[in-house]
Symmetry: C2
Subunit: 223 residues, 2 copies
DNA sequence: TAGATTGTTAATCGATTAACAATC
DNA sequence: TAGATTGTTAATCGATTAACAATC
């Protein structure tokens, strides 16, 4: 039993959907109203059938020989991703990264609204960062309940992340976006997304090291 | 022909290796010198055989009934990921995100050393951000050649990303870490890693929307 | 109509997991 | 030795791609 909201979207498709979204917004700005899988695939470098499979999860039905309605797709993707109604979120940790996230006003267009930030540094508490109040960590639990916040963002040093996450769970938060490079140990039902920059860096760094290590002539045959 | 550096590591393992690394550093700090797959798996929530498969790519051979040498694993992972010798990198875009990356001094421990930042805002050029000089974009190509820099980080608004990436390629840069939410169109041989925060956000947001949409009783059976 | 494009079923591919022999 | 743990081969699973019928 998968609930009443259709089949669950595979992680891989979920990662591509925002790319289609960004692309479709661009098309709409150019006044283009219909688009085919092959055109999307050409511009975004995916095979057309993959685009088709992904778009099927939106429930939008295309017209053979014509394509899909750009406007319909946009609405459907936003609805599928939950971007149509705002998620209010708390952010903990107002270092460099936390500050950057607070300042990224573009997020608000995609349903993410950070309503308050938290820090344990008394010099920061009481200040505003990018227009958001920085509060003491002790306020997190009482405020989350009162404001009915379901989402938490962790941008603390790794050592603090687990404790903060547990606080968030106690506060009734259901989904956590974790920017600290630690695996969080939390109850099954909490939705966690780890944004591990070291993992990404590893991928890049490994491939470059490989490239620089092997003789130049071999590079062509390397992927 | 896959080059002379052993079999290429699958992306999925590559993403887990930094997690093992972080975990092993912690063990070493506690004075633990050997560790088994089952212990790693228990703490990091992976099945032991997966840990074993991943660790095999390091080339380190464990001792049955004992486990793996923590020190050996650390050295091997660092070498595999190319973290043992510094990659000098250029960063373009000194907005919130670019500033955060520049300030993340922890990266330098993992072989990433940003040597210069670039921006097209004349008010920023000539300043320093987190100790790194901000230069005019025109300096990128000549400097990259002279300093032999192979890595570029893009932290610009999406509209600028493609043009910057092309500049980087002209400058001889071989690997690009792209934080702008656009698919870059570049020659095959350029190594690109997209750090698309919207993709991550989509995954989280979709799952939370689903959770909040379905009746509470069904949540238990939802994953 | 003819041809391009969608929708769908089947085949392929790669990654994860299971099973089990080898070893300290 | 007995038992835990590694290393490896085979089975499973899911995602991608190929093939083809349906449709405007």
């Amino acid at each position: 039993m998968k609930g009443s909201s259709g089949p669950s979207v595979p992680e891989a498709s979920l990662r591509r959907l925002p790319q289609y979204h960004y692309y479709l917004v661009g098309l709409q700005a150019q006044g283009i109203t219909v688009i085919s899988c092959s055109a999307i695939g050409r511009d975004l470098r995916y095979v057309p059938v993959q685009v088709r499979k992904d778009l099927q999860f939106t429930g939008i039905i295309g017209k053979p020989k014509v394509g899909y309605s750009v406007a319909e797709l946009l609405v459907a993707i936003e609805s599928l991703l939950g971007w149509n109604n705002a998620n209010e979120a708390f952010l903990v940790g107002t270092g460099n990264l936390g500050t950057a996230i607070l300042g990224h006003e573009r997020f608000s267009r995609f349903g993410l609204q950070v309503v308050a930030a938290f820090d344990n540094d008394p010099r920061k508490v009481g200040q505003c960062v990018h227009g958001k109040p920085v509060l003491s960590l002790e306020c997190l639990i009482p405020l989350a309940g009162r404001m009915n916040v379901h989402m938490g963002i962790i941008a603390t040093p790794p050592e603090a992340a687990q404790a903060i996450a547990e606080e968030m769970v106690k506060a009734g938060i259901q989904a956590i976006w974790n920017f600290a490079p630690v695996k969080l140990n939390l109850p099954e039902h909490i939705i966690v997304r780890n944004e591990d920059l070291y993992s990404s860096w590893a991928s890049l760094s490994c491939k470059l090291a490989r490239r620089l290590r092997v003789p130049l002539e071999e590079n062509a045959s390397l992927n």
